[in-house]
């Protein structure tokens, strides 16, 4: 008669994976018990040999080269996205001419640095923005959107405070130009919020609002960061 500690074939199968994966320490059965059973049981020994062979083969599986057309498709999709990202920046007042208008008094080199850095930062913010999971409930999407909006709004508040400290470094013309750009973005924010008031769950309006908020964060962050440290002769990093 088998007691609870007898290693039957059925019990061995339960712990065979742990034995083969060398995870048997701490289990109720000793490695020596398993090996004794395997020595005396042909079917369990055959099973163990097959599972060992499977494990060994699985570890030798190699990378698989994708077909060439996959790279072409990736390249085409990336190329298609780049103008769309740029046009969003322009629509929200981030065109190169707009930046130069804002920063002319700092010199054209400084303006170019800011445009390049603004584009990179803006792209990051656009993609960093939380996206609703495909399986999320409608309620979950609303909460996620509200959290994102709150995050941007908080960042804007803190950056506006910092901008006020730095603004004395701007001459009147630059300050006015900066104000005009911010007004443009604020108008886009207002439009999106009006649309959401009419239709709260509208994904296009939500996206527009988050785009506009992220643009304002980018503008303020770069303004604060650059105003204090750009000096004539700054080396220009171009793409």
């Amino acid at each position: 008669m088998n007691d609870e500690r007898t290693l039957t074939c059925e019990r061995l199968i339960d712990i065979l994976d742990d034995y083969l994966d060398e995870r048997l320490s701490g289990a109720w059965v000793r490695i020596a018990d398993v090996e004794t059973h395997l020595a005396g049981c042909a079917s369990c020994r055959a099973l163990a040999a097959d599972l060992r062979a499977l494990r060994a083969a699985a570890r030798t599986l190699e990378p698989i080269d994708p077909p060439a057309h996959v790279w072409r498709a990736v390249r085409a999709r990336v190329d298609q996205e780049l103008p769309a990202r740029a046009s969003l920046l322009e629509r929200l007042g981030f065109s190169a001419s707009g930046w130069q208008r804002v920063l002319q008094p700092l010199g054209s080199a400084a303006a170019l640095v800011l445009v390049v850095s603004g584009l990179a930062w803006m792209s990051a913010r656009l993609t960093e923005r939380p996206q609703p999971a495909p399986t999320a409930s409608a309620g979950g999407e609303v909460v996620e959107f509200q959290l994102a909006e709150a995050e941007y709004t908080d960042a804007i508040d803190r950056l506006e405070e910092a901008t006020q400290s730095a603004s004395p470094q701007l001459d009147t013309a630059s300050a006015e130009a900066l104000r005009a750009s911010i007004d443009d973005i604020d108008m886009a924010i207002g439009d999106a919020r009006d649309a959401l008031a009419r239709e709260p769950g509208d994904s296009v309006s939500q996206e527009s609002l988050l785009d506009a908020l992220s643009s304002k964060v980018a503008l303020l962050q770069d303004t604060v960061a650059r105003l204090g440290r750009l000096e004539p002769g700054t080396e220009v990093q171009t793409p």
């Binding site: 074939c9 199968i13 994976d17 742990d18 042909a42 079917s43 055959a46 099973l47 040999a49 097959d50 599972l51 062979a53 499977l54 494990r55 060994a56 083969a57 699985a58 570890r59 030798t60 599986l61 190699e62 990378p63 698989i64 080269d65 994708p66 077909p67 996959v70 790279w71 498709a73 990736v74 390249r75 999709r77 990336v78 996205e81 780049l82 390049v116 990179a120 930062w121 792209s123 990051a124 656009l126 993609t127 960093e128 999971a133 495909p134 399986t135 793409p239």
Partner: protein, 189 residues
């Protein structure tokens, strides 16, 4: 993490197409292997690989070099693949159920039934025939080398469920490969 990774990421962010192609050529094979085995479908894997690299291009501005670029891309690919598999969740449940129902007592062959060694191409074809749930666990554990805790975290299942899914996959693979894998059926995969 290497300085080369950060430099490549910087060049990609600045629109350097050659740098992005280098990233693709370096990592696409490993990721395509992972995606093909996780999904069991070369077509799905092609679509997912595209999505992974398009997403990577968008997110490279966020790459800070805390891990290697390869690890960063690997995580993107696993997440992308799991989203894809979750989209098929109801079908996964059905196929896993059918596997459970079909699972007979372990075959009691007195000698090993698998060829030694197992040909990689046969194993890949057999993996493609596994139900989605246990295939994902098997690939992450036995092929990619994650432990059961990591597999559980990746798949949103417990460590115990990961063990059980890997066991099911191994037994199913033994049956598929040991029974003389039907060439016609496998080649159609």
């Amino acid at each position: 993490m290497s300085a080369d990774d950060l430099e490549l990421a910087r060049r990609c962010r600045e629109g350097d197409a050659a740098a992005f192609e280098t990233v693709y050529r370096t990592h696409a094979g490993r990721l395509f292997g992972l995606l093909t085995r996780m999904t069991g479908s070369a077509q799905d894997a092609e679509d997912l690989l595209q999505d992974v690299f398009v997403q990577a291009h968008r997110k490279l501005a966020l790459f800070r070099g805390e891990s290697s670029l390869g690890t960063w891309l690997y995580r993107l690919a696993v997440n992308q693949c799991l989203d894809h598999l979750r989209g098929k969740q109801s079908r996964m449940a059905r196929t896993t159920d059918s596997l459970d129902a079909a699972e007979a007592p372990e075959p009691a062959a007195a000698v090993p039934v698998l060829p030694q060694p197992i040909a990689r191409i046969d194993l890949d074809r057999a993996i493609a025939q596994l139900p989605d749930g246990c295939r994902a666990a098997f690939v992450l554990h036995d092929v990619e080398g994650l432990d059961h805790r990591e597999v559980g975290a990746a798949l949103g299942i417990s460590e115990g469920t990961s063990k059980s899914q890997v066991h099911k996959a191994r037994m199913k693979l033994r049956a598929l490969l040991g029974g003389g894998v039907r060439r016609g059926a496998l080649e159609a995969v």
